[in-house]
Symmetry: C2
Subunit: 309 residues, 2 copies
């Protein structure tokens, strides 16, 4: 059994790679829900959906979110009505949010709903929302000092505005979803996927129960750096690291993860940083991490499993 | 100024007819909200939408609900997920419910939202939900004794199951939408549209303020019978009248409306009933009421206006 702490796209690719080298049933993903949003009354879980759609092979590879072969009839009509359309929801994608919202209103928990959707899409990886309680990633803008939701920052402002801080509203009171703590305790290895450390992985860390369970497994925690040669492959991880006082480099990632991990996997482009990272007391492996095709993802999966075998 | 108490399809056709013989701005429709439903977290107002879509000329004439040229991508995807799809929502139609739900969550009232949607669709008839409070038309099934929502009865069970009673949950505490009482007081004539008396008009009557205002205007209240030659043109009005102890005839309608109206308009097919109805102390006019084309609707509109001029 292995456990993967997951955000969106990077995590989804890694899970696909792991699925190629390990039976799906042996993989548990603990997925960030801090950027969940309620839009038009619908409950939306962007990271869960990205992972689910990717594992089902129906994700839109070009956009990095949403579904292949999507149509946009509802959004076009909403625009004509003068509605808010900055958070674009395709017609097929809407069905996921309608389903989830209906089930939530029936009193079913997010874990069960996530499982139902995954199962309907033929997925046997165990997908667990980090919590069934509401944790909201909130971002403070540097210039105005306004605090906005993660989706407003990420989608509405296209993560183009500098920020001064991030917090996870509700995390101190939040409980880990049933099964998360056991998955961390029983995993052969706990993998931190190459997701944004500050806004995809940090919300998972922010839940006290999860944080404690992870620290007890520190010797078996391996992270994959989402920063390659000083840049994020996707999204604002590099800028956020700089803005929040870290360095946008594999060293910066190593320092951020220092208290949590035993090993950091970095890309071969960053080979020269291996020594620096090991001087922090972190094992470091340099390999191909840019999962531009399924073979590379599977190979990275093998490397991760090989560390403990 | 005239005021029209409105349900769905029949009312929408009549409003279209009135709009042809009177400036839109002089028409206020007070629309039933008792069959509003929350589906998948979305707030849906079937009667308001039917009236709005019909006045905008974008309604689906075949089905009697929804929009022309609709697509069904979201519902097809929802079905694959195993979601509830008995209440069919087209992709374009979904936009209306997304818009309404988003605006409600921003604290905007149903009156304002209804106006915004109507305005975006180019409608100048004044459309007022009967109340901004929640009133729920609840139906008790004859055989099981179960009480279900109107939409479950009407759509899920296709109004094929006999019922023993109807009630309007919340109506005693509900307040009329601002503007409704003035519209009734100031109208030259108050028209009860040819909608289902028991489940489209009765919910409007069930709000005490509206009931009182209507009774004060009884001399100027005219109803159009939704029953023609013993049958409802659409929907279960005939069966409901029978099931709830009335007669499925223009006489049955007259008796049901007795306390509220001065005049009943019946179809020429029911000409022989004029005397019976007048013997109840109700003026009766027999004319063409089946609005199978816009000319007939406009002509019926003229007849209604002519009564008071």
């Amino acid at each position: 059994m292995i456990c993967v702490l997951a955000g969106g796209v990077g995590a989804a690719k890694l899970l696909n790679g792991l699925k190629d080298v390990l039976p799906s049933e042996e993989i548990t993903a603990v997925i960030n829900t801090g950027d969940d949003a309620i839009m038009h009354g619908l409950y939306i879980c962007p990271d869960i959906d990205t992972v689910t759609y990717t594992l089902a092979g129906v994700n839109n590879v070009e956009t990095g979110w949403g579904l292949q072969g999507e149509t946009w009839v509802a959004m076009e009509s909403l625009k004509k009505l003068g509605g808010e359309t900055w958070f674009n929801l395709g017609d097929k994608d809407l069905a996921t949010h309608l389903y989830r919202t209906a089930r939530l209103s029936e009193g079913v928990g997010l874990k069960e709903i996530t499982k139902e959707i995954a199962s309907a899409m033929g997925i046997s990886v165990n997908l667990l929302p980090m919590t069934e309680d509401r944790v909201e990633t909130m971002v403070t803008l540097l210039e105005s000092g306004d605090e906005i939701s993660f989706q407003e920052y990420f989608v509405k402002h296209r993560h183009e505005v500098p920020i001064s801080s991030v917090r996870f509203n509700g995390s101190q009171q939040a409980q880990a979803t049933h099964g998360v703590i056991d998955a961390i305790r029983e995993a052969e290895v706990v993998i931190i996927a190459p997701s944004n450390p500050l806004v995809s992985i940090a919300p998972i860390f922010s839940i006290p129960e999860i944080s404690n369970a992870l620290k007890e497994r520190k010797e078996d925690v391996v992270a994959v750096s989402p920063i390659v040669a000083g840049s994020a492959l996707k999204g604002p991880a590099d800028r956020l690291l700089n803005e929040l006082g870290y360095e946008a480099s594999v060293e910066g990632v190593a320092k951020y993860y220092q208290d949590w991990i035993n090993t950091l996997i970095i890309d071969k482009a960053d080979f020269d940083s291996v020594e620096n990272i090991e001087s922090l007391g972190i094992n470091c492996v340099s390999t191909e991490t840019v999962m531009s095709d399924p073979q590379i993802a599977a190979s990275l999966g093998s490397t991760l499993l090989g560390l403990k075998r």
